[in-house]
Point group: none
DNA sequence: CATGAATGAGTGTTCATTCAT
DNA sequence: CATGAATGAACACTCATTCAT
């Protein structure tokens, strides 16, 4: 605590640099994509010189991975933790998760990463593999856990896991792609309230899955 | 048929050139994206020289537009025509349309264009605008027409058009993006039967929209 | 023959370009080394733009290999041919070879390649391997053939091949390194007549090797 | 020994620093060349920070000069001293010198400096000039002194000094270049015993120079 | 004395488009 | 009509040296 008082200016900057660079990188990657983002721009936006960027991140790809770790992996982990600690019904859990997912990720700048990786993944196989391993796989795992839990407690009917996973993910992906395809106006993306859309979808999904759907 | 007898070989080739170039271009654009496709490759694949390509298409962007006209706009127009001539119920029409859309477009090579435009549209605003005008707007228009027709006949309940449009489009988009994101393994995309998935979604959607849903 | 009269200007240039680039490259590689030679300089010296260089040679390394093939490998092959066709005694052959080697290679600009590869080979393993295979190995092979021939005819005494090879090569290498180490003044290199030096060394060597050395 | 008792640890380190840096620098310069050796690596190998290196040596070039002074100039001076004090015949002196030169320098790590200066001298004229003045000139002077001494005593015939100097130096240089051209396999360099080779050459040379060569 | 954060100049390679032939 | 030679702008990454702490 006294440290923060004593820490000299240079030192303080040093500890902030990675964060500043990461933030600048997130902004630019999301805005322009990976390939189109020039490392010098990132540095400039963070207020340092080109060389300094490479002092903290050995390459543009590593910079990107760090951005993903900071902004996506972290969110996935938090989600997994909440899932593990959730006390309510599986139906509630699923609905909560989908909505929170949108609130904490889909609606944020960081969701541009998802668009980026889908758009450019084919041209950067290393990044795609990294994302698959660090984000897609854990997230899918988490989803499956919820579904299995619901099935175990008898809450959910027997269902096709793959299909369900798709239905959970599809609307989020749709909204994210729409949001970041600035030059395109995919129907509804601009005027509809995404949160409502997600909530509705979640509700519909849960009903479909539930054992005792009192639709009538 | 008499044409082939009368037309000298050179002449015939000349008239086939654009088609051959368009086919080569479609393959490469879908496989590698717009930016990553080299015009020389397209020419080579069509069996002509680089210069010849620019003889038929004044630029790479115009080539792309021609590919879109040939492979996407055409499909949309066919769809609109069928919609106009369709005799059955609006519910049938909607279900038919969604399934046919997948069969005639989503499941074909040409659907890569959709992934391409979403992925790279931001970097090529002209192409995005062109696609918006020639594809997205007409397709959305067509969808709305169906919904309005259903409402007019009393088949469909009053609903949110934007929302419905999204629900119609989202699964198709999801499947298309999954299919063309080779380095990524988005859940379900590999093992699930897309046609079943679409059919199910269409069914669900129509039930939700319908006036007399005999769910109870 | 009529072709040369009809060949249009552009075409003629095209056939000359590789040669012009190769010559410019040789000059610059010898003058400044491999790493320090900028590809743009080579292009400029040949009177073309940077891009044109890469039209003819896919990379700087390939350009270098082409320079070696044109200026060194060729010479080695000519030497091997002459060795194979030589009619005189092995002693004469050896002396002739050493002197000719100097005249046709050591004393020319091209010998800078030898200095270059020894100087920079460690930093460009691919180039070193190429040179080893295309130049050093064949040249060594040729030398051994001569020695074996002399031994077979009874002209030469039994000797250590490795040692002899070194004695043949060392003075050439010494002269070449001296000649191209412009900033250094290794003794004798500037004023002594290299040809005399080589001739003397060859004479001495042959005497040492010969069966009937009439030194007494 | 009392020094270690009285000198405080920090103090001792301070006095050892230059030596440790010099040793690290020698290793790296020899292994990777001058340009390719990063000053940070040198510092790291010596266990200090980048800044500290520049505390002791104002620049990379000065560091190199210090390495030369420590590892080459010193050896030349020792050689000159021994030459001055040598009591035997000039022939013995020359043979001894050549062999000792190999033993004390050529066969050691330090001989990499010779390869380095020949390889990179053209790109670093200051270093080349320094080496010329501090090493080549004194060494050449020493050699000439021996030859003149031999001539003065009537031991040696009248000969061409330049030529003789070359013959003395050439084999050493050849062996050194071979030894440090790791990617290249110049004939004989690997299997032949360098010391024998040098000894033989020295013997041959002395015989050639001597007044009364009892070859017959 | 010692540290290590910051700098910024320098270069091989690609590719859409043109135009002389 | 068709060719293919030529162009030139654009971009990631390295490292010796400095100087605030």
């Amino acid at each position: 605590m006294s440290e923060s008082l004593l820490t000299p200016k240079r030192e303080r900057r040093k500890q902030q640099r990675p964060g500043e660079l990461l933030e600048a990188a997130l902004d630019l990657f999301v805005e322009k994509g990976f390939a189109a983002t020039k490392s010098e721009e990132v540095a400039a936006k963070a207020g340092v010189s080109k060389g300094t960027l490479f002092l903290y991140f050995p390459s543009k790809e590593e910079l990107f991975k760090a951005v993903v770790r900071e902004n996506v992996v972290k969110t996935v982990k938090e989600g997994a933790l909440e899932v593990a600690n959730f006390k309510g019904s599986s139906a509630e859990l699923l609905k909560t998760l989908m909505l929170e997912w949108w609130r904490r990720y889909g609606s944020t700048k960081a969701s541009g990463i998802t668009k980026l990786i889908i758009s450019e993944g084919n041209h950067f196989p290393d990044l795609a593999a990294f994302y698959q391993e660090e984000v897609i796989d854990p997230a899918t795992r988490m989803l499956k856990d919820i579904l299995e839990r619901g099935r175990a407690t008898g809450e959910f009917l027997n269902f096709n896991t793959e299909h369900t996973t798709m239905v959970v993910i599809a609307p989020m992906l749709f909204l994210i792609m729409s949001k970041h395809a600035n030059s395109l106006c995919i129907s509804g993306s601009q005027e509809t309230n995404p949160e409502n859309f997600i909530a509705q979808h979640a509700e519909l999904l849960v009903r479909g899955l539930s054992n005792s759907n009192s639709l009538c």
